[in-house]
């Protein structure tokens, strides 16, 4: 090796001097520069080789003056030539020749000896082999080799060899090997051909090492010092255990190895590391025959000073493994896909490249298909990233206006929807054009006076019949507050819907028809029932809108009569006098709704208008730190993007986008894909807000209105029986009842009357009463047909036969 180097230096120097004889000076000059560079690199690189100027220039021409590629190509070519020469000549010469091409050998061994792959792979992460792969790679190639070569110029020791290139190289190597193995083949058994070839190569290596040791002693010395101490000591301690007999040779062998390594600068780590590991494999091998020893020469003689063939053998094997290890399994290097991409970039227009590219990309496509099939499932899981906001502090930071819900209740045809329509129209929450449209359409079917109500009565049936069936929500803003109207139906058949609406309300507006006879019938009917219901639902404040005052010519006496009757009734129902407010108004004309009436008949009224009364209401605080509870008001298909949405009001707690929620009673989980607060997209929502949740990862059959949304960490339990303290509105006895809690509406029955209670103290007056009279507070047990999500303290309403029979608190 050293001889080559010396030679090369001389040669180069000569050539360098007489290199200016080209027809095109500029181009020629560039070519010369490149040539010089290539030569230098060839000389300095590992293994150092020489090439003629012509060869270099030809290579450069092929590679479009790409120095790196040319270097690779040339090196490979020369190395091969030399190998051929060496194998043909005498053993000694052959050894010299093959010393150089020994490097590529591992590479061709790889394809030929698949078991090595496995072994290397298997031991790859064994602790004693634990030199990081990237380190090996660094030592090996980086500065020298380009990513890929053409014309067989691919760096063989690099990890970035395309398979096609590797195959080509392997084939070439095979040919070379055949020649080289021919002579020393007899020296090992015939049935161990594979081992033999490597062994033989090992022998050659050992010889070369010897040579190297002789030729470059200074390197031999420097190498051990540069070598990590840990490895040395580890090896030293390791080998004696395994092989006691050749122990004295061992250190020597290592020191002999090291020069080789340092000279080669190739696969140092893996070699040494693998050594201890691979010793058993070496052991089972037969020792070289006498013939082989003779041929090889000095192997047998200086056993103590020279490396035994076995040892060098094993070292060589190690080297092979090591290289196997670094090459095909070099995961720190670019992945095959990257190689393809790089190849695309670096070598466009080369056919061989393209074909290689094609095969790899085909494979990749197949892989994609397969993985695609694997990933295929019926329900695609949607993952929504949570922003992990601290919702409560977010809420405190956001300076939102106060938000309040109020329910509009009252007897049927009291003008609830019209009054609210007027409110919305006057506050410009509904545009004039829409109103005109409603007016035209309403007149067309002869219900002109219903035009304002149509703002809220959107259902076709509601419009056709002129009666509100289901609750409608709408919102409007004043300077201080965002109000959400919950317009409840007044008809007695739709009281369940009204209960749903009232359960969302912070306060209530009780609309009363002041018309003659209508007020009286209302007081017996739903005026009374609704007032009782909103009170038992926990509503504290009630605004009584004495509507249709225009129909009684704003008669003050009529107003006062109504005020007196209603306030006495409300007081008995449990409203405090300070929480009751009265406003005479007219929904159809808009007097005293948002503007003070200009009618001279109303001059007697100096109190607040309806909107002023609404604004005077204190906001209601919601339990944000409690576990999440939300009753589903509606399940619907929001849009194409949000195929499943639910709406409702958050009773307690908070939620944000990306949250996992649990629906009860089905017990299914869902993910919040996105959410809207009062119709505006938001990332979070807190108790008291009206939200629309767009859900993912749940089937709609698990969602029904009346179900409760909670968290898996604090779930609401499903119960089939509960005890409640109720206020009886009708006679109570064990019987079938409907149980209402917001939208939740289930059938059940009163199974036991536990006791009647004292209204004030709550002490039991009479145990096991036969019947509970109206107006009494009692404790009862209610059984339900199905498990429903209910928990104390929840306000429930019991109805039977179309009448509210009791309302109370779950215990």
């Amino acid at each position: 090796m050293s001889r080559h180097r010396v030679k090369a230096v001389a040669y180069d120097d000569d050539d360098f001097d007489d290199g200016y004889d080209s027809p095109d000076p500029e181009e020629q000059e560039f070519v010369q520069q490149c040539t010089a560079e290539v030569l230098t690199q060839l000389r300095t690189g590992e293994p150092s080789v020489t090439a003629t100027r012509d060869e270099v220039q030809e290579a450069l021409w092929h590679y479009y003056n790409d120095v790196e590629k040319s270097v690779n190509y040339l090196r490979n070519k020369i190395v091969k030539e030399m190998k051929k020469k060496g194998s043909a000549s005498a053993p000694a010469a052959k050894v010299k020749g093959s010393a150089v091409p020994a490097y590529p050998i591992p590479l061709d061994l790889a394809p030929r000896e698949p078991p090595h792959f496995c072994a290397a792979d298997f031991f790859r992460d064994s602790p004693w082999l634990n030199v990081p792969a990237h380190r090996k790679a660094n030592i090996l190639i980086e500065p020298l080799y380009p990513r890929l070569g053409l014309l067989g110029g691919a760096p063989e020791s690099s990890g970035k060899v395309s398979k096609l290139a590797a195959l080509a190289a392997a084939r070439k190597k095979k040919e070379g090997d055949k020649a080289s193995t021919a002579a020393p083949a007899q020296r090992a058994e015939a049935d161990k051909r594979q081992t033999l070839s490597t062994e033989q190569k090992g022998t050659s290596l050992s010889l070369r090492e010897r040579l190297a040791g002789n030729g470059k002693p200074q390197k031999t010395e420097s190498a051990p010092s540069s070598r990590p101490l840990g490895k040395l000591s580890r090896l030293g301690s390791h080998s004696p255990q395994k092989k006691p007999s050749p122990e004295p040779i061992k250190p020597n062998g290592i020191s002999q190895v090291k020069p080789t390594d340092t000279l080669n600068k190739n696969a140092v780590g893996p070699m040494i590391n693998d050594e201890g590991k691979k010793e058993p494999t070496v052991n089972i091998r037969a020792s070289p025959s006498t013939f082989a020893s003779t041929i090889v020469g000095d192997v047998t003689r200086p056993k103590m000073t020279e490396p035994s063939p076995l040892y060098s053998n094993s070292l060589d094997l190690m080297k092979i493994y090591g290289q196997d290890l670094t090459e095909p399994f070099d995961f720190t290097g670019p992945s095959p896909d990257d190689v393809v991409l790089n190849a695309q970039n670096s070598a466009k227009g080369f056919k061989s490249k393209q074909s290689a590219l094609k095969t790899t990309s085909d494979k990749k496509n197949q892989g994609d298909l397969a993985s695609g099939m694997n990933n295929l499932s019926v329900a695609e899981k949607v993952t929504v990233k949570s922003k992990n906001l601290d919702v409560v502090s977010e809420y405190q930071r956001s300076n939102r206006k106060n938000a309040m819900n109020f329910a509009v209740v009252g007897h049927v045809d009291a003008g609830k929807s019209t009054l609210m329509g007027r409110l919305l129209a006057d506050l410009k929450a509904v545009d004039q054009r829409t109103l005109e449209k409603y007016r035209r359409e309403a007149e067309k079917i002869g219900k002109g006076s219903f035009a304002l109500a149509w703002v809220l009565d959107q259902g076709s049936e509601e419009r056709a019949r002129g009666v509100t069936i289901d609750i409608a929500t709408n919102k409007f803003e004043t300077e201080k507050t965002v109000f959400t109207i919950v317009d409840a139906p007044g008809h007695r058949d739709f009281v369940p819907n009204m209960i749903a609406g009232a359960s969302q309300a912070d306060f209530a507006v009780l609309v009363i028809d002041s018309g003659t006879g209508n007020f009286e019938s209302g007081l017996k009917g739903q005026t009374k029932e609704h007032a009782l219901l909103v009170r038992s639902m926990g509503v504290q404040r009630i605004i009584v809108a004495v509507n249709k005052m225009d129909s009684v010519q704003w008669n003050k006496d009529r107003y006062e009569e109504i005020e007196q009757q209603v306030s006495s009734f409300l007081t008995t129902a449990g409203f405090q006098a300070k929480n009751i407010a009265f406003v005479p108004c007219s929904g159809i004309s808009g007097d005293n709704v948002t503007r003070r009436s200009e009618d001279p008949n109303v001059s007697w009224y100096t109190g607040r208008t309806l909107i002023e009364e609404l604004e005077a209401t204190e906001p209601y605080a919601h339990a944000l730190d409690k576990p999440l509870r939300m009753t589903i008001g509606d399940v619907f298909r929001g849009s194409v993007q949000n195929p499943l949405s639910i709406s409702g009001r958050i009773d307690a707690g908070s939620l944000q986008v990306g949250d996992q929620i649990l629906t009860m009673p089905s017990g299914e989980t869902a993910t919040i894909r996105s959410l809207e607060v009062d119709g505006e997209p938001s990332d979070w929502a807190v108790g008291g807000q009206n939200v629309v949740l767009n859900l993912a990862n749940i089937d709609p059959i698990y969602l029904r209105s009346g179900d409760v949304i909670c968290r898996a960490s604090a779930p609401i339990s499903n119960i089939t029986s509960f005890t409640a303290k109720v206020l009886a509105f009708e006679h109570l006895m064990p019987s079938m009842v409907d149980i209402h809690r917001g939208r939740l509406h289930v059938a059940g029955r009163i199974s036991r009357l536990v006791a009647t209670l004292d209204k004030g103290s709550g002490a039991a007056i009479k145990k096991k009463p036969k019947i509970i009279a109206p107006g009494t507070v009692a404790r009862i047990v209610v059984d339900m047909d199905h498990a429903v999500p209910l928990e104390a303290p929840t306000r429930i309403v019991l109805r039977a036969g179309g009448e509210t029979v009791a309302a109370g608190l779950l215990e």
């Binding site: 619907f636 298909r637 079938m736 096991k768 036969g801």
Partner: protein
């Protein structure tokens, strides 16, 4: 049910041979047959014979078996009665003491024997059993029309068959109908889908012939009651009409028999209100159901108005009977037949003797309500027994643990 042979002795023992003709007869059989009775009916039994060589052969043989009844299993949905017990007659294929479950079949006679033991075990044909037999045999054989009721509300419908003695919930339809929303037509769409599903289910349950050729046929169509709060039932009728007018002309046959009535909710217990409505009363003139419902309403009314002149619960009623309050002049004992179905002989004897006492000694009226009707279920909620009293009885305070019966 047809009475084939009646051999009831004076002492209450004896045999009866019956032939069930309608599904509801199975319900009667269920009430008549009690554990300890002897039941003789045809049966199919799989018999496995072992040859001397050890090989086995299995064959299904038709036998007439007599068993001593141990258990009864009644499926009201399908009206099937399975009676389990031990075989008492020896046949070629069976041994005495082997267990067998008889499946009673329509139009196949069965013979029921009740015994009165010398030491009082077994109750024989007591007054209640004889009354039940009379009810079952339905003197004159005139069956009253049974009706189909659809009790619905938005997104919920209960389809049930109202028979003479039973109300069978055939199917419950539950759908999520989107609520009305600003500018959304989902509600109407969802509602019409709900109507269509309900209609399909109803026709399937009625086994209604929907082919176009069936228009000419003269099959009687049972009355169909559509009940709902609000406009749901009316909307459903409108939907049926539009379907009849467009895609399914055979439905026109159904239309005249539909009655729309009001109910408080879509749950089954609203059926009581439905059956009391005048328009239904004209159709189901004098059904047992209507009478029972009326009775229950009367009782509850009395309880409300004059709390002390009505009472319910086993102990309370017994106390009232002891005081002679359930007697001539308006005393009515209302009792659910569930109590007679008790597995415990002593329990049954207790109620039978109470009934006999009220009827025969006190001179009061006794009404046995079917527990499979809505009114019977209401009564079951009150403990299965209630009484209208002739004079107010001041109720005693029963200790809580006593009343847990």
């Amino acid at each position: 049910m047809r009475l084939i042979k009646n051999k009831i002795e004076l002492n209450g023992s004896g045999t009866v041979t019956l032939c069930p003709e309608e599904p509801e007869d199975m319900w009667h059989a269920y009430n008549l047959i009690r554990p300890g009775d002897l039941l003789r009916a045809s049966a199919i039994r799989r018999v496995t014979t072992t040859q001397e060589t050890g090989s086995t052969a299995s064959a299904r043989v038709h036998l007439t078996l007599e068993i001593r009844v141990k258990s009864l299993d009644f499926d009201p949905q399908l009206s099937q009665l399975h009676v389990g017990g031990q075989i008492v007659n020896e046949t070629q294929h069976t041994k005495v003491g082997q267990h067998h479950t008889l499946d009673l079949e329509l139009n196949r006679n069965f013979t029921l024997e009740k015994e009165v033991g010398s030491d009082g075990e077994g109750v024989g044909w007591d007054s209640i059993a004889v009354q039940m037999l009379k009810d079952a045999v339905d003197e004159g054989g005139k069956r009253r029309a049974e009706a189909v009721a659809v009790v619905m509300q938005e997104g919920l419908a209960h389809i049930c068959f109202i028979g003479q003695f039973q109300t069978i919930l055939k199917q419950k339809v539950e759908m999520s109908v989107p609520r009305k929303r600003q500018g959304g037509s989902d509600h109407d769409k969802g509602l019409s889908k709900f109507y269509q599903v309900t209609l399909d289910t109803l026709l399937r349950q009625m086994e209604f012939n929907t082919s176009a050729t069936s228009l000419a046929s003269n099959d009687p169509v049972r009355p169909v009651l559509l009940a709902s709060p609000g406009f749901v039932a009316a909307g459903f009728l409108k939907h049926i009409q539009s379907v009849a007018a467009t895609s399914m002309p055979a439905l026109k046959r159904l239309l005249p028999s539909i009655v729309v009535v009001h109910s408080a909710s879509g749950y089954l217990h609203s059926l009581a209100e439905v059956l009391q409505s005048p328009s239904v009363k004209t159709i189901l003139a004098d059904t047992k159901y209507a009478r029972e419902t009326k009775l229950m309403d009367d009782f509850l009314e009395q309880l409300r108005k004059e709390t002390n002149r009505a009472t319910y619960g086993p102990r309370e009623v017994e106390a009232a009977v002891d005081q002679g309050a359930v007697g001539r002049g308006g005393g009515v004992l209302i009792i659910s037949n569930r109590l007679f179905r008790s597995q415990d002989v002593a329990e049954r004897k207790r109620w039978v003797s109470l009934v006999d006492r009220v009827r025969d000694v006190e001179g009061g009226e006794v009404r046995v309500l079917s527990s499979d009707h809505e009114s019977g279920r209401r009564l079951d909620g009150l403990g299965g027994i209630a009484a209208l009293l002739t004079f107010p009885v001041v109720e005693e305070d029963f200790d809580s643990d006593e009343e847990q019966s």
